[in-house]
Symmetry: D4
C-alpha cells in the first residue's frame, strides 16, 4: 500500500512492515489488523510504502524500487492530496504544484506499468475533509478524484471513492472533529478509509465473519 | 471503559478523551473510531479510564472518582490480568498478588455499586495469549475468567469472553506474533478485542452498516 | 493584552514581558515592536497575559489577578475562539462548550468591572479564517463576534473587527496559506491582526511616522 | 534576501521559504508578512538565504548557487557585520577579518554580476547598535556602511541606511534594550529594519493601504 | 564470544571490550567477571562480538572480520534463536526465516573454517524459556539445538546445552519471571547461562577456588 | 541489603526490587541472580535498599522505615565508605565527615535494634581498592573495617571482610582496572564482593551445586 | 562569596561548594583554585552563594540564611550590576530598577549587620565592560561603584575596584572580546577579577610563592 | 598547545580557539586567560589542539596537519599519560599500550621535526596524582617523565616537570581531592599545571605585573 502521509502515518522506516507499529497508525494498520484478526488463515502480508509529503511525481521516482521490484500480488495507491494542497497552502512555490494533466499522465503511467504483473490494483481517490463542494480546494480535489475514477474504469482496477466515504460522516460531524487540518484524519477518519478499502476489495467489513 | 494497560494503551493523562490519541492505541480507540465512523449520528462519548499495572484493588480504590462520579450511561471493565500475572512473574512479591477470592469479592462489589445507576455494564474477561490450556498462568487466567462469567450471569451484565475471542486467531498465528509477552497485543490483538466488544454490545461489526 | 493561544503565541511564563520573545511571536509582539520602533519616546509597556486554550470562563477566573491587580492604563481582550471551537471539534465534551448567552454575560461582566479604572478598553472579535459564511463554525463565530460588537457599542470601548480584517486577505489567499487549522495564523495573519489593532487605537500603521 | 545572522534569524534549512517560521523571526519575516497581509494580490514570493556568521567572502562563495541560479526578480543584501565584528571580538584570528578593501571589491563584484539579470537590487548597510560614533567598532562599521552607499550610488541600486534607521530609536532607548550584544536586534530592532526596507522599495509602511 | 542479542546484551559498539559495561550486562560479562575475580593470574581477555538480531547468516557474513581476523585462542558461539523466532513472530516475512538445513550447513561451515586455528571452540545451543516441549516454537528450538549437538560431536568441540541448563530452574520459576518474552533472560537467566558455560570449559563455578 | 552507592548501583527507585535491573547492576544483583539460578526452590526475596552517597548517619535516619518496618528475615549492611571518603576528597566540608567514634556508635545502634527481630545479620566492611596499606585513606578505611569486625564479633553477626576479599585480586590487577576511583568497582569487583558474601552466608559459590 | 550571575557563573545548586565545578567557572573558582594550589596548607574553604539575576534587594532577602547563618570568617560581596542594568535594558519594568539611594541603604545595612561577626569583609564594585565613561550605563555604574567605595571606607572593609581593574585590559582589547554583552566576562575577564580580589586580600597573585 | 584529555578538557571541536570555552576548562584556558589579562598588549594567540584519549602515536599521526601546517611560533606538548595508563587499566588490550622505547622514539621524532621552524618548544611531563613513588603506575609515569626530561635537555627545549609541581600540593591535599581518578585534575590541579607552565616560559605568575 503506497501513498503520502495518510498512508505513511508514522510507519517504521526504511521498511513499513514487521513488528507492531511498523505499519503506522492509519488505515493501513487497520486494514492489516482486520485481515489478520478475521482471516488469520490467509496469512496476508501487508507492506506500507507511504511517505509523508509525496505527490505523484515522488511515487513515479521510486515506483521501480518501492513497488515493482517487490513483485507484490496486490498494489493499492492513495495519492494526489499534496499535488493539490501545495497549490493552496504554498501558492507561490509553483514548482511543488502538480497540475491535473501531469497528475493524470503520471498516475496512468504507474497503473499501466504495474497491471500486467499483479493480481489486482486498488486506486483510492485523494480527499479533502471539507463538506462545502464550492470550497476551492475541495472542488480541485474532486477534479483529481474524477481523474482517478476515470483511470480506474479505463484500466479495469478496483476503485475506492474515499471522498464519498466521508460524506455520511460529515453529515453529523464537523471537519475539525475528524482532522485538525481537514487532511490528516484521526482514528475515526482512518476507520472510514479502512472500511471503504475493505468493502472495495470484497473482504467486507460487514461480511459473514 | 476502565481497566489496566490493555485498556490504557498510552492514553492521555489525566483525562483519556478529547483529541486524537487521547484514547490510546488499543481496543478502546478502535471501538470509538468504529462507532464514530459508522454511527456518527449517535454522538457516542467514550472515555478511557484504563491505567497501566492496575488490578482489581486499584480499580476499587479509584472507582468512586473515576467511574461513579462521572455518572456514565454505560461502563465496561477489563481487569484481572495483573491480579494473576504478578503471581507468576514476581512470585516473591506476594503483596501484589490478588488471589481469586479477593478478586471475585472486589469485582462483584464494583458491579453491585454501579449497576443501579447505569443503562448497562460490560464485563470482559482477562486473557492470556497462550494456546496451551495446561500452561500454569493460562489455567489461572481461565479460572479468573470463569469468575467474571459467573458474576456477569449473576448480576445480569453483558459479558465478553476475550479468551475465547482469541481462540480462532491462535489456531493460525503463534502467540509471539500477537503479543511479545503474551499479554500486550498488537493491532491484530486489539482488533480482536474490539470486535468481540462490539458484537457483545449489539453494534455488530458485521451489522447492516 | 489578554486572550487565548492567539494572544499567548508562545509567550514567556509566568510573565509575558521583558526580554525578547517574552511577548511570544504573534500580534502582541508585532504591536509592541511597532510601538517601540516608531514611538520610542512613549515608552509604552506591553504585557501579554494570553493563555493557550482559554475561553471567557477562564478569563473571568483569573481577571482579578491577571488584569485588575496590575492596574493597567489600557486593556485589550481577544476571546471567544475556544468558546466556539470546542462545540465543533469536541462536540461530545459539552462541559467545555461556552454557549453564546454565557459568553455574552461573562464578557460584559469583565468590561463593566474594568472600565472605571482604565483609560481605555479594546475589544477584539474572535475570528475563523474560513471565507464561506455558511460554514457552521464560521457562522457561529460571526454570532459571537456580533456579541462583542454589541458590548463594545453599549459600553463605549474601542472595537476591532478581526474577522473583517481578514476579508481582503482571503480574497487572494486560501485559508490553508494563512493558518493550518483556520485558527492559528502565520505571520501574515498576525500582521493582519496587528494592523487592525493599531488602526483601531489610532497609532495608525499608515500614520505620518 | 541574503545576508548573515540578522537575515537568517533561525530560518528553516536548507530552504528558507514555505510554511510558517521558514523565513525565521527577523526582518525578512516581517517584510514578507507585511507584503502578504497588505498586498496579497501581488503574490510576492520571498526567500530567505541568510546564513549565520557569513561575511562577504561567504556570500561570494555561494552566490552562483544561492542567488543567480534562482533567477530572482529582486535581490536584497545585508552583509558586513561579521566582516567588521571579527576584527574586534576575535582580534587574534586574523584570517577571519575581512578588511575594507576586500569588502568593497567583493561586494561590488556581487552587484556587478547580478544587476543585469534582475529588476532591482537592494543594498543594506551593516549596522552596530551603539550610539557613540567614536566607539572603535561603530566607527569601523560606519566606514563599511559608506562603502555600501558608494557602491549603491555607483551601480544605481536601491539603498537602505540601516544605521541611520536606528538613530531616532537610539535617542530614546539604550542599546541593551534593542540587542543584547549590540548586533542581534529584538523585535523592535527588526521592525526598524523592516520599515526602512519597505520604505526604500516604495511599498511604504505608511502608504495608503 | 559471538552471537545474537543474548550475547550482545547492550555491549559497547563497535568494540565489545575495554572499560566497564563494554561487555554488556549478560552472560559474557558474568563469565568475564568470574574469570577476572577468581583467576586474575590468567589475565584472560574476553571480547563480546554479539549483535542483536543476528542469525547464522549474519554471523557467516562477518565471520572473517569479527572472528578469524582477530586470531582468538578460543571462540564461543550462541546462535539460532532468531533463525527460529522469525518463523513464529513474523511468519509472513519469509526472507528472514533460516530453515534448519541452511542453519546446519552454515553453522558447520563456521566451525570447520575456525577449528584449525584455535585452541578450542564452544558451541552453545539456542534456547526458548518455555517448559512445554510441545509448544511449536520450543519444539523447533529443540530441533535446532540437536543440530548444534550433532555438529559439536562431529567436530569435537565443547558443547553447552543451554536449554537443559534452564530445566531445573523452570521447575520452580514460571517463564515470565525469567524473561518477559521467553527469550531475553534477566540476571537469573544469564547467571544460568554463565554457569553452564563455565562448567563446560572446566573453570567450574563449583571448582576448588 | 542496605548501604551506599556500592549497594545501590543504579537500582530502581523508590523500590529496589521487582523486574530486571530493579536490583541495580552490582553485587546485590549478582547475589540474587546466583540464588535464584542455583537455589530456585528457596524462592528467596532480595530487596536492595542502597542509596548513593549514604553514610551511617543516613542509614540511621531511614532505618525504621527502610529496614525494621519491612520485617526482613535477614539484613545485610555495607556502610562506611562515604564516612571516610569525605574526609579525604572534601576535607574542608567537615560536617560531612563521620569520625570513627560516631561511626562505631551508630553502626552498633543499628545492629542492636535489629538483631532481636531477624534470623541473621550480615556486616560487610567498607573497602578501598588501594593495595598500599600506608595510603592515608586506605589506612583509615582499615580502621573502620576493624570497627565492623569488632561489632560483628561482639554482637554475633555474620562478618564479611570485603577488603580482604580484594587482596588476591589486587596481587594481579592494578586498582585502575577494577574501579576508576578505587571505590566503585566494575563487574570483576562486584563479583568479588558477591562471592565473599555468598561464602559468608554459607550458600557457597564453590558449594556442591 | 556572594553576588549575582558574575559570582554564580553556573555554580552547583543549592550549594555552591564541593566537587569540581561546584563553584562555577568564574572568578570564585579561580580564586579558590589559586588558594588551594598555592596555599594548600591553609585549607581555605570557599563557598559560592552567587545567584543569577540578583540585585541588592535579593541579597538582603536571603542574607540571614545565605550568609549570617553560615557564620563565615570572611565575606565578599559583588552586587549592583542588575540594579543598574534593568534601568537600561528593561526601562519600562520600573519595579525591577534599584535606584541609587535604595542601593546604598541596603548595601550599608548588609555591611553593618555582618561586620561584627566576621574577620573581614570584601566589597567589590559592580562594573560595566565599556571604556567610554560618557556611555549612560557606564556612567551610572560608576556612580554605584562610588557608593561601594564610600561604604567600604566608612565601614573599614577591604575594597576591590573591579572597574579600575579592567582599565588596562580595555586599553588593548575591545569590549566584545571580553564579554558578549559587556557584562558577563570570559575567562580573561574573570582572571582580571580574580587577580584584583587576590591582590586586595593580600594573598597577592604576584607574591613570593 | 597539544596533548590528551588534560589539554583538551572539553575544548570546542574541530577548532580549539575563538569564543569563550573554545579552549576548554583546563590549564590551556587558564594560561590564555592569564596572558590576555596581564599582558593584553602582546595579543598572544593560543590554540588548543588536545584530544581526549590520545597517546604519542596519535600525536604523530596528526602532527603534520595539527601542528606543522599551522606554522606556530611556539608549541607545547603534554603527552604520555594514556601511553602508561592503558598498561594498568586495560592490561589485556596490549595493542593500546605504548611502551617506553616507542614513546621515546616518537616523542623525539616530533621534537626534531618541529624545532627548526619554531621560536620555542615546551615539553611537559606526564603525571599521576599519586604521592606514593612505589605505586606501580606512578613509578612507570616517573620513568616516562624522565624520558621527557632527557629529550628536553638533549634538544634544548623548555621543560616543565608537572609531577614535581604537584608535590607541594600533595603534601597537604589527598589525591582524591585533586582528581577523582588521579589523572583528570579539578581547577586546583589545572591551576598547578598553569603556574608551572607560566613559570617555565618566563611570564611568571609571580612576576612584576
Amino acid at each position: 500500500m503506497i501513498g503520502d502521509s495518510i498512508t505513511d502515518c508514522g510507519r517504521k522506516k526504511p521498511e513499513g512492515e514487521g513488528r507492531n507499529d511498523s505499519l503506522g497508525t492509519g488505515y493501513v494498520s487497520l486494514v492489516d489488523g482486520f485481515l489478520q484478526a478475521v482471516y488469520p488463515e490467509l496469512h496476508v502480508r501487508v507492506m506500507n510504502k507511504g511517505l509523508s509529503g509525496n505527490n505523484v511525481r515522488d511515487l513515479q521516482a521510486r515506483w521501480q524500487e518501492d513497488v515493482l521490484d517487490l513483485k507484490p500480488d496486490w498494489v493499492s495507491v492513495l495519492i494526489g492530496i499534496n499535488d493539490v494542497w501545495r497549490q493552496y497552502d504554498l501558492p507561490q512555490i509553483v514548482e511543488r504544484h502538480v497540475l491535473i494533466e501531469e497528475y493524470e499522465a503520471k498516475l496512468r503511467d504507474l497503473v499501466v506499468r504495474t497491471k500486467p504483473g499483479v493480481k489486482g490494483l486498488v486506486l483510492m481517490t485523494p480527499f479533502y475533509i471539507e463538506p462545502n463542494p464550492e470550497d476551492k480546494m475541495r472542488a480541485a480535489m474532486d477534479r483529481y478524484g474524477a481523474v482517478v475514477k476515470a483511470i480506474a474504469e479505463e484500466q479495469g482496477t478496483i476503485f475506492v471513492d474515499t471522498q464519498q466515504a466521508f460524506e455520511p460522516v460529515l453529515e453529523h460531524i464537523y471537519p475539525a472533529a475528524l482532522a485538525w487540518d481537514r487532511v490528516h484524519p484521526n482514528t475515526t477518519g482512518h476507520m472510514t478509509l479502512a472500511r471503504a478499502f475493505l468493502n472495495a476489495i470484497g473482504f467486507a467489513w460487514n461480511g459473514a465473519k
